[in-house]
């Protein structure tokens, strides 16, 4: 299933949000949500992005589909640069990149029936006539584990897990190649999360989909992803294979993140030693050139406060941004 063909390439992507807290330009400040991030996603794989709240992982997802205009860098989808494409030219690409959102209560229009929600994309992209469309809606509902009777109902009649299935059916309707899953399971109950994750995996096998899976739950990301990128304050800290990340984390932040996950296994907890980080995440507004993790890093030296470490390939397919991992 998996080949080495690159589907999405993100090069030095930057997204700054301007903070207008004054009328004069002198006090203009930028919030660097995403700062110089590069990665590739191969066709058929699942690339996971993890990080704490405010690290810019959702911003990356939204910038890739151009819900936000990038401040700098390039987004190359299947060989085409879509970074500055006009909305009109972008239209065919919208069909190829779809998105699933975190909150299944906010991402479905309450005044539309399920059939209208799922069929809207097909209508926009002129993919089917009326009768075909309803047939396809029924087929899609079946694919995501709902019944065709559900087509005429409204979103409020469904539970959170079912709504998330509707959101997934909507994204599948236009037969996309890449689906950006922005925290698709974090609003769901534990027993429902596994249902949705299994379904996403089945769909990938069946339709050859590529996922960008954004989440803060590292154990779930580890489960679903082939490769993982760890983010901290707008920077990628480490990118590698998901098993490698778990077994051999190199960046101090990744190590701390992994060790702070509470494991549902009391015996393992009794023996393992946790690294508890001190302090909080610092502000992403106008950060000086430095390693973003330096105030909390147990290994911090002078150089960390002065220079931004680059993301380097320290081992085959294992990229780390740290002055002390070479």
């Amino acid at each position: 299933m998996q080949n080495d063909q690159v589907l999405l390439q993100v090069e030095n992507l930057k997204k700054y949000f301007r903070m207008d807290n004054s009328f004069s330009n002198k006090h203009r400040q930028d919030l660097t949500a995403v700062d110089d991030v590069s990665f590739v996603i191969k066709r058929g794989e699942t690339f996971g992005l993890v990080g704490e709240s405010g690290c810019g992982k959702s911003t990356i997802g939204r910038t890739i589909v151009r819900l936000y205009e990038p401040t700098g860098g390039r987004i190359i989808f299947d060989g085409d640069d879509i970074t500055t494409m006009s909305q009109k030219d972008l239209h065919p690409y919208r069909k190829r990149i779809q998105m699933i959102f975190q909150d299944p209560y906010a991402s479905l229009n309450t005044r539309m029936t399920v059939a209208e929600i799922i069929g809207e994309g097909m209508l926009t992209h002129k993919l089917s006539n009326n009768s075909e469309r309803l047939e396809r809606v029924h087929y899609l509902l079946n694919t995501v584990g709902l019944k065709k009777e559900h087509a005429n109902r409204y979103p409020h009649e469904f539970s959170g897990g079912q709504r998330q299935r509707i959101g997934i059916a909507r994204s599948l309707a236009v037969e996309p190649e890449l689906i950006i899953c922005d925290e698709p399971i974090s609003a769901l109950d534990v027993s429902i999360q596994a249902q949705v994750v299994n379904m996403l995996e089945d769909l990938q096998d069946k339709m050859g989909l590529t996922y960008l899976f954004i989440a803060h739950d590292l154990s779930m990301v580890k489960h679903i992803s082939d490769r993982i990128g760890v983010m901290y304050l707008g920077k990628l800290m480490e990118v590698c294979d998901s098993n490698e990340l778990y077994e051999n984390p190199l960046n101090p932040y990744t190590k701390a993140l992994l060790s702070s996950i509470p494991v549902p296994d009391p015996r393992a907890n009794r023996t393992s030693k946790r690294i508890v980080l001190q302090g909080d995440v610092k502000s992403p507004i106008n950060p000086p050139p430095s390693c973003r993790f330096n105030p909390r890093c147990p290994m911090c030296q002078q150089i960390c406060r002065e220079q931004t470490p680059e993301l380097l390939e320290v081992r085959p397919n294992h990229f780390v941004a740290c002055h002390f991992v070479k």
């Binding site: 704490e52 109950d189 534990v190 429902i192 779930m220 098993n243 778990y246 701390a256 494991v263 995440v281």
Partner: protein, 340 residues
Amino acid sequence: MSDTILEVNGLQTSFYTHLGEVQAVRGLSFKMKKGDILGIVGESGSGKSVSALSLMKLIDFPGRIKAGSIVFDKKDITNYSNTKMSDMRGNDMAMIFQDPMTSLNPVFSIKSQMVEVIRRHRKVNRRDALKVAVEMLHLVGIPEPEKRIHAYPHQFSGGMRQRVMIATALSCNPKLLIADEPTTALDVTIQAQIIDIMKHVSKELHTSIILITHDLGVIAELCSRIIVMYGGMAMEKGNIDDIFYRPSHPYTRGLLQSLPRMDSHAKDRLIPIKGSPPDLMKPPSGCPFSPRCPHAMNICREEAAPTFKVGEGHTSVCWLLHKDAPAVEGYAKGEVADAE
């Protein structure tokens, strides 16, 4: 038993809405020892938060505690008046909530909020109350508490606010601390800090803690006793090792199996629990888990199961443990236990 801090018998709490009665808690009984950390796990709608609010008697209209008794520190508080409860809340039993962003008042400084609590329950002057408040902030690891205490909640991050909440809750040295999803709104690295603080508090101050969460990982780190709730009922009770290594209820098993394991190398498939949680407006007859249970029998849909004793201090509410039930691998037969 003198070392029992809390005893709950047959607690039932319902909310009377336009659409009918929502039976949030349907008969919860447990005993808690002094100094223990008791974990209550369950999904949203399992009744775990309402149970906690009922213990504090914070259930407001249209909700009502329908039946049951709550004995706290040898006093039966079931019929305590609101005034009497006010003296106890914050003093003998304190609570911290899920969302540290909304549970502090934004227009008062941390200092005035903490001093208010201390002065409400103790006869101390402002200066001494402030001293206590600073001490508590120090205990929960806020740097420079003398200065930071004058700040307002918006100047604190989520993790810091949760620490302030814990400090405030502990400032009158309560016997029981109820923590309702204290780390759910926080990032993992901050969650690890808060877990450490709770461990420290229970060791230093010998405070009994009830921890309510849906995260089995947090439970595994902190608790010694666990109650698994589903559909407003306790499904299984036991020590931490019983629940994690010898679960004897299909729901507990399902919950444990549906979690991804970090150490598994192969891409195993997750084993989800099929279906979705029950509607408490019209809960299924019999066992609330029966519509989703892989081993459900006819009797499960008709009659609620009695409590079976599986081991020392380990009980489970499931018909599979009955001596006449068909044998299912991994479920040993138990004896009907007396109601705890």
